[in-house]
């Protein structure tokens, strides 16, 4: 026999209906509409093919290149994916724009020094919008700057042959997160050991993050740098990477009205949502979108008020009980 009476069966149905209505408020997926990129063919395609003859991932030994030479190129990071290059930010370039000129002996190019981003981007008006000079300053204060003695440079994360700025043009925020996190995992996983820490591998990386509730969900939905950088409000993607022990570990850093994620990763989406849902609705959604009640100041205040009123009620009840007992004793 079911102990729940009809009254509560009806009540449960009403509550179930209200719960089903919640997605109308909170269940809307946020879609960032951006212009779809079309396939693009470089003006220098033919020219670049001369380089890709030898510097392309997956090439097989031929009369031009022995297996040892291919392995040697691979071990020095000199093999590139043609597809990744033509999807990268630098896809409009010819290889020789950066690697010498028409007179350069191609075989000597590898000996040239490595550029940093600011060699080209730091000091021209067109680059101002990307704040390269500020990023260079942030980088110099970051933990990564200490690794320069082991050949760390901008290239480690932003290899100009393949790097594609993602967040401004994304149609799927999760693709962006995966893309960015893979940059970190290139070093901080067993795929490619951090030079200063040969013991590091993805298992250790996951162990360091064992404290995270729902670890797979957090790692797939949040960029590493959200917790491992110092937030700078004027900069969407700060490059001030903090030492591991200074990483953010408080839930409310993200799960609150002042969420770090709203200052960076979801900043564009938050603006988009506000313009779609109206300012007030947008604010409510913005508060609850990532987390839940813990991030809603309205619900937090309501819960504290209700709890205090309950305690006040109990205190009054105790007071009147004590008074009644005294009266009884007196009589």
């Amino acid at each position: 026999m079911n102990p729940i009476p009809l009254f509560f069966a009806r009540l449960s149905l009403i509550i179930l209906f209200l719960i089903c209505c919640l997605p109308v408020l909170y269940g809307q997926d946020i879609v960032v509409s951006t212009q779809q990129e079309t396939e693009w063919i470089s003006d220098f395609y033919e020219e670049n093919e001369q380089c890709f003859r030898c510097h392309q991932t997956g090439i097989t030994p031929s009369d031009e290149l022995t297996e040892d030479e291919i392995n040697n190129l691979g071990s020095h990071g000199l093999l590139f994916s043609r597809e990744d290059f033509y999807n990268s930010n630098h896809r409009t370039f010819a290889c020789i724009h950066c690697h010498g000129n028409d007179d350069t002996d191609l075989r000597e190019l590898a000996d040239e020094g490595v550029f940093t981003c600011t060699n080209c981007h730091g000091f021209d008006a067109a680059s101002d919008q990307y704040h390269f000079a500020e990023k260079a300053e942030q980088y110099n204060k970051s933990v990564h700057a200490n690794l320069e003695n082991v050949n760390f440079s901008c290239w480690k994360c932003h290899n100009p042959h393949v790097y594609k700025s993602n967040i401004r043009n994304t149609t799927d925020i999760h693709d962006t997160i995966t893309y960015h996190n893979n940059i970190c995992l290139d070093c901080h996983s067993k795929r490619n050991h951090v030079p200063t820490n040969p013991e590091n591998d993805s298992k250790i990386m996951l162990e360091h993050h064992n404290w995270l509730p729902n670890q797979p969900l957090h790692i797939s939905k949040v960029k590493c740098i959200e917790c491992h950088t110092q937030i700078i409000n004027s900069d969407l993607l700060t490059h001030l990477i903090l030492p591991g022990e200074q990483a953010k570990m408080r839930c409310v850093d993200c799960h609150s009205k002042e969420s770090r994620l709203l200052a960076t990763l979801y900043k564009f989406q938050a603006k988009e949502q506000r313009s779609k849902a109206g300012f007030f609705n947008g604010m409510l959604l913005e508060e609850l979108r990532i987390i839940g009640t813990s991030g809603s100041s309205y619900l937090n205040i309501a819960s504290v008020v209700i709890f205090l009123l309950t305690l006040l009620g109990i205190a009054l009840h105790i007071y009147f009980r004590v008074r009644m007992n005294r009266t009884k004793l007196t009589n």
């Binding site: 102990p3 997605p23 269940g27 987390i291 009640t293």
Partner: protein
């Protein structure tokens, strides 16, 4: 009067300890490890939640197969009136020395207010907390399939609101248990099994 069989007392004790533990660790998670570190709070909360689920199954099945279920049956007829009488007694009558309008018997041990609140907590709030808790422990299944990508937010809201209601219930429940013939008599009843006073 022997009112609380051994299994009820053991379950009640386990449930009370688990609720206190889950409220404490839950608050620690919500307010980011103010008292104990967040990683420990999460681990203890998860283990506590799993044990609470098992404990709830014991309660649910125990109530299905034992005569204890009769104490959770609510007759709608006259319910509002008897609830009103009980509220008047708790808020006014008790201070005038009036007699409790409800008499505890072996057949009917919960007064109308207790009955409604116990059923509300045990058959609505606790199941909601357990279901949403499991949904957050293994995200991407239940609420995501039913509601969509924001399902976890809905689960989170229901979990925390239900948790808050259970917290309020615990505070009021413990206080009302001091309204026996002596402040400790009803606490002794749930330990010994013998009811020893009017509430």
């Amino acid at each position: 009067m022997y009112l609380y069989p051994k299994w009820i007392r053991l379950w009640h004790l386990l449930n009370a300890l688990l609720c206190l533990l889950l409220i404490f660790t839950g608050l620690n998670i919500q307010y980011s490890g103010r008292v104990i570190p967040i990683d420990k709070a999460v681990r203890v909360h998860n283990i506590g939640g799993i044990i609470l689920s098992a404990s709830y199954l014991i309660f649910f099945i125990g109530n299905l197969v034992s005569p204890n279920r009769r104490h959770y049956k609510i007759r709608c007829k006259g319910l509002l009136g008897s609830m009103g009488n009980q509220i008047v007694y708790y808020t006014i009558g008790i201070f005038k020395g009036n007699k409790n309008p409800f008499t505890v018997t072996k057949e009917d041990k919960h007064n109308p207010i207790q009955k409604v609140s116990y059923v509300f907590i045990m058959y609505l709030c606790i199941p909601l907390i357990i279901i949403t808790g499991w949904d957050m422990m293994f995200p991407g299944f239940l609420s995501t399939i039913l509601i969509g990508s924001k399902g976890l937010v809905v689960s989170d809201l229901i979990h925390i609101i239900s948790g808050f209601i259970v917290t309020l219930f615990m505070v009021i429940h413990i206080y009302l248990c001091t309204l026996g013939s002596t402040p400790g008599s009803l606490f002794m009843s749930i330990i010994s099994g013998y009811y020893a006073g009017d509430d």
